[in-house]
Symmetry: C2
Subunit: 504 residues, 2 copies
Amino acid sequence: PSVGAGANGSLAAAARAQVGPPTNPMATALLTDQYQFSMAYAYWKAGKHADHAVFDLYFRKNPFGGEFTVFAGLEECIKFIANFKFTEDEISFLQSVMPMCEDAFFDYLRGIDCSDVEVYSIPEGSVVFPKVPLMRVEGPVAVVQLLETPFVNLINYASLVTTNAARHRHVAGKSKVLMEFGLRRAQGPDGAISASKYCFMGGFDATSNVLAGHLFGIPLRGTHSHAYVSSYMSLDEIPDRTLRNKDGSKICKDFVSLVKEWLCKIQAADSLRNVFGDTNQSELAAFASYALAFPSSFLALVDTYDVMRSGIPNFCAVALALHDLGYKASGIRLDSGDLAYLSIETRKVFHAIEKEFNIPGFGKMVITASNDLNEETIDALNKQGHEVDAFGIGTYLVTCYSQAALGCVFKLVEINSRPRIKLSEDVAKVSIPCKKRCFRLYGKEGYPLVDIMIRESEPSPKAGERILCRHPFLESKRAYVVPQHVEELLHCYWPGSSERSTTS
Amino acid sequence: PSVGAGANGSLAAAARAQVGPPTNPMATALLTDQYQFSMAYAYWKAGKHADHAVFDLYFRKNPFGGEFTVFAGLEECIKFIANFKFTEDEISFLQSVMPMCEDAFFDYLRGIDCSDVEVYSIPEGSVVFPKVPLMRVEGPVAVVQLLETPFVNLINYASLVTTNAARHRHVAGKSKVLMEFGLRRAQGPDGAISASKYCFMGGFDATSNVLAGHLFGIPLRGTHSHAYVSSYMSLDEIPDRTLRNKDGSKICKDFVSLVKEWLCKIQAADSLRNVFGDTNQSELAAFASYALAFPSSFLALVDTYDVMRSGIPNFCAVALALHDLGYKASGIRLDSGDLAYLSIETRKVFHAIEKEFNIPGFGKMVITASNDLNEETIDALNKQGHEVDAFGIGTYLVTCYSQAALGCVFKLVEINSRPRIKLSEDVAKVSIPCKKRCFRLYGKEGYPLVDIMIRESEPSPKAGERILCRHPFLESKRAYVVPQHVEELLHCYWPGSSERSTTS
């Protein structure tokens, strides 16, 4: 068998250097299903391995019962193929688990890379729809077949969680801050890293995942945990109580006493009478200590003991003491209870303090909410009315609780220029044959109307020209469209070696 | 601030060398929530960072509406702490995102590792229950706090998917072969690798994930895909039709003709009359070609066109031709349609062929089923009756569709020998304070009766001695138990440096 791509070692190396390695070092050429190797061997045995195949990657149904999907994962796919090459260690392993295969097959595997593969794709981050190919992957059938599993793996969860993030953004509204807090609930380390990356792509503002911040430059956010609060017992545990004014002009020698004074003032204030009870002193100590560490960005978790009786007055006392020294506290986080009620009551207290002590802006302190939030709970909060400014969302976001998989498929549609189809009793599972081009047609107001697929040999649709669009499965669904603007959807992201060699 | 663990560099290096790196290279000390670093700084600022803290890791509710959980992820946690150390690059990144922190804090971070941390844990793979700690982690509060997120991340999904696999094993029965096919539906590369590892731990027999096979030695299984079948057009595409007998004694010059002869015989056989129609020739070519590549392990996917009219007779013709040459085909895979009906009809055909052509064992050919299987669908198949021998399970298994997160928590229960509690309006969320020892009490027949927690200072329960067991939250739930056997649940998996130095 001929070794097409192996001859192009230097080009492949150049491509690798240009694209960089996959984010996850485990995304190697062995990250595939065993049967892909079985098929590669069967193709090779039959001398079919170099047949030119065209595969479409697409999904059949929008997730979450919705009407759109956001496509993501392309960059990782390109990194994967740029680095696609078997090591000797991997070849040895394959030989050990496929002892029935001829040695020459492993020489063939040693030689292959993705120099002869072409990838056409919709741009990452695009809104996409069922059945229209997200990617078209062409090349030697045995090589492209080995890409099926990793491509579907890299795109399936990426697109699903990006879509989920976009849906959360939609329900929360543009003005809210959305933070991804899913690290501890994702599928292991890199499930979490993917979640952080793609939630940011889907419209989130920040993550709590430090490694994702490091890898992708995503802004980091977070407060402290209940453990921090409960680790304190009393104010005596704060040895160094000094805090320099924000402008550096003077030093407050006993910040803790200042906090205590403010707590008394709040408790005595007419406008706040009967709101607050005795507060928890270990919580007060934890807040004061945290403020001494982060005077410019003090944000407190207020529900360790009792939000309205203890957490809020303790927070306000510390925030007011900080204010005396020129600092502005950031706000609070609620992690349990009736978030609508608690946020509204908290906002009332903030406004009352602003008025009572004449502190402009205190009423606008940020209220963050977390605790098993999802699309439905945010929608419910919207309906009840709430005063939350920022949402921290974890489990439901990153696990995509309401639909845990997108179901992308990678189907052969053409081989050696002949169309191929996969039949099924379930008509939705029948693949759409032929190498295709895909277009998005736009109407007068600049909004997209419909995505269409045509055979490669057919003429492209043109702006201003009437075109008959037919549903691929429902014959009665058809419409004439006169697009004002036509956008080709699939762009070349990885040219075959012939094209690369002319440009290098 | 003192740098406790840093002085023990050589011990830490020795521990690392002994334990090995985490499976996922991304499981680094940065894989944590941003607020863990904020808290570490606040502890450090207050001089509390070295306070001796005890944390319990536990979950509150069994997943999947079930009555048990299988604990997994311990090995990865131990690898994580054995390799816990910040690189200069990581320190620089932390400095860039925490510009408000003093330089000396980063010197402190440079010095820490897990030499002063102790980990006590239930053995990996144990059946465990809510509220009883799976792990107790002790050490300097700032360091142990940094372990919260990675530990919960490494245990949450691992335990969830292991439990899910065990539940699938339970419903499928001991005699069935269970194969994990989830690579393309998991949360990225390492979600998939974790899934393969922990499904094997939970009782699966094999995986399709080649990298998981390489990393963990899990047996690999798989067939071919629909794409392989549809890549063929006719029998003319098989250039080399020779196949040597299994015993090497002679060579069949035209295996394809032999297959065709068998197809005619099947179609003409009295006992099979009217069962089969004309079969699809591209499918027949794909099967024959696959058999030429894998004569000793021929397993065919039979639903590309029509299972009973085409897939089964084509498979049988190839299997019978292989039989002529001394080979034994493995069986078929069904990936769509009514799996109960199709498996039963297929089994009838296999038995009819065994009888008609006197081929002992043909009736027992393996029938594998896949296609969105889960606990419920397998249970439904059991109720309907079926002839499936092996199940390939993907999406529902690895995404844990019916409950996508376990919800492990990591709570401070003691600091400097003083008990700590986290209160909540939701009583189930109240943490159980104090450093604990945990025991499983066994009854007369050797079955476990109950798991109990006691304070470290209390006397251990003893076999034959009556003990009053009380539910932690429901006062009326209490019972006297006289155990026949007592098993301590938490074992030391990572001793503190003092103990390690005495043993090294």
